[in-house]
């Protein structure tokens, strides 16, 4: 399995409401409503931590879900957001990222 690194796009706005996360792209004004699990992945998308580690440490450690199933779902979620330019996906750590969620990694 090749590793994936994910980073939040600088062209988005995000805010947490209750247990959900609202994310909006400034490119096409698409609004996304992330579930609690998706929000955890979003908040962990610092460009430095491998997706597999995010799933293991942030998802499986908190939510009752099997690791393989969680990773498959996370990959699908990441690909979907990447198609809309909300997340940036790379095979290696992304330079210039690393801020915590809500601090607009590259803003």
């Amino acid at each position: 399995m090749s590793e994936k690194y994910i980073a939040r796009s600088p062209a988005v706005a995000a805010r947490r409401f209750d247990e959900e996360m609202m994310v909006m792209s400034s490119v096409d004004s698409t609004l996304f409503n992330l579930s609690e699990v998706a929000a955890v992945i979003w908040e962990s998308a610092d460009g430095q931590t491998p997706l597999s580690q995010i799933v293991r440490d942030q998802v499986c450690a908190v939510f009752d879900v099997a690791p393989d199933e969680a990773y498959r779902d996370a990959e699908a979620f990441v690909e979907d957001l990447a198609r809309h330019g909300i997340l940036l996906v790379s095979a290696s750590p992304v330079q210039g990222s690393g801020s915590s969620a809500g601090e607009g990694a590259w803003a």
Partner: protein, 367 residues
């Protein structure tokens, strides 16, 4: 239900101020003849104060942030403010006249992830646009700014405030918007000045001309539907509230005064003296605004237009009561449908007194 509707409903249910309009300054490089502001600096919030406010707004759940003025780019720290706002995850919309936008500014706004830029454009003809802004060459500079913003990849909305002097130019502005790939909006609303001066109301489009706007399919879509008599008033209208002002949105002046809306100058508190969230949750004034329902309006509750009228509680407030009719909106409903409003009948019964505009005051005197 669309996601945005769902988001609004959720914010309303949870009492979250989803949208805030923050004026960074009242200073401006233009002197538009219809403007409701006076442009002296009476003690604007500092960069540090604004950054602290932005953190409070983010903590309170504010998502949509409109930065405006005056001309916001008159502040030398405008980009630092925008950068701070974006770093806190706000969806930022900037309202500017674009006169000070050069390539560097356009690229910076794009790099910061500003959602959209709204620019007032009054005419495609320099003599008309510049005549309104009182700044020679302003149309040329604004258009140059618009093109640079579009080239940088930003979404631009051209806001066309309609007055007697530029009424015939809306098609020209629309064509300009199409040419540069900008969104076009038209607004016939002229607001009294912040000091209560009503002289600018002479710039309101007269009813006969307003009717032409309402009969233009390019502006209203289906004219027959838009101008149709109002449907019977239902429980939704009777139990509903007029707009998001004070419910999921509010306005903050450059001096920290908080109001329900930029067009609703009811002082609710000052963020220099109180935490934003404390004003939002505990202000008696906001509680009063939130308590208003269609069925509670002394005059408008019996009006056939209750369910379709755009009654602005802020304009009504400026005429004397936030629960009263707004004469400008009565006029729009009447011109649109030809059906007299309850507010018009009440005014006729009272001998047609002029609207009694109140003096608008700041929540505090900063100096």
């Amino acid at each position: 239900m669309g996601l945005m509707t769902e988001l609004n409903a959720k914010a309303l249910r949870l009492g979250i101020p989803l949208s805030v309009h923050l004026d960074l300054t009242y200073r401006c490089n233009e002197r538009c003849e219809h403007c409701y502001l006076e442009h002296d600096d009476r003690g604007e919030m500092s960069l540090g104060e604004i950054r602290a406010l932005l953190r409070d707004l983010a903590d309170a759940g504010v998502f949509f942030l409109t930065l405006s003025g005056g001309e916001p780019l008159m502040r030398r720290d405008c980009f630092e403010i925008i950068e701070s706002a974006r770093a806190l995850g706000f969806n930022v919309k900037l309202k500017t006249n674009a006169v000070m936008v050069r390539e560097k500014e356009a690229r910076r706004l794009r790099a910061l992830g500003v959602e959209q830029v709204q620019i007032s454009l009054y005419s495609h003809r320099p003599e008309v646009h510049d005549g309104i802004t009182k700044l020679p060459g302003s149309l040329k500079r604004t258009l140059a700014g618009i093109r640079l913003l579009r080239s940088a990849g930003l979404k631009v909305t051209l806001a066309n405030v309609l007055m007697p002097s530029n009424f015939k130019d809306s098609a020209g502005v629309r064509a300009l918007a199409a040419e540069v790939g900008a969104h076009y909006t038209l607004d016939p609303t002229i607001t009294p000045m912040m000091d209560g001066n009503t002289s600018v109301l002479r710039f309101r489009v007269p009813p006969k001309e307003l009717r032409k706007v309402f009969e233009d399919p390019n502006l209203v879509g289906n004219v027959e539907e838009f101008c149709a008599p109002p449907p019977p008033v239902d429980d939704g209208a009777r139990e509903g509230f007029p707009c998001s002002a004070g419910h999921t949105a509010c306005y903050i002046s450059p001096y920290g005064d908080l109001y329900p809306c930029v067009q609703f100058p009811l002082p609710c508190g000052n963020v220099r003296r109180q935490k934003f969230i404390d004003i939002w949750k505990d202000s008696q004034q906001l509680a009063e605004v939130r308590s208003i329902r269609g069925k509670d309006l002394p005059t408008c509750s019996s009006c056939a237009h209750l369910g379709t009228c755009t009654r602005c509680p802020g304009l009504a407030y400026m005429e004397g009561s936030m629960r009263g009719p707004s004469s400008a909106d009565c006029e729009k409903s009447f011109v649109r449908t030809g059906i007299t409003t309850a507010g018009m009948l009440a005014r006729q019964a009272a001998g047609n007194p002029p609207p009694g505009l109140i003096q608008i005051e700041s929540a505090q005197s900063p100096f």
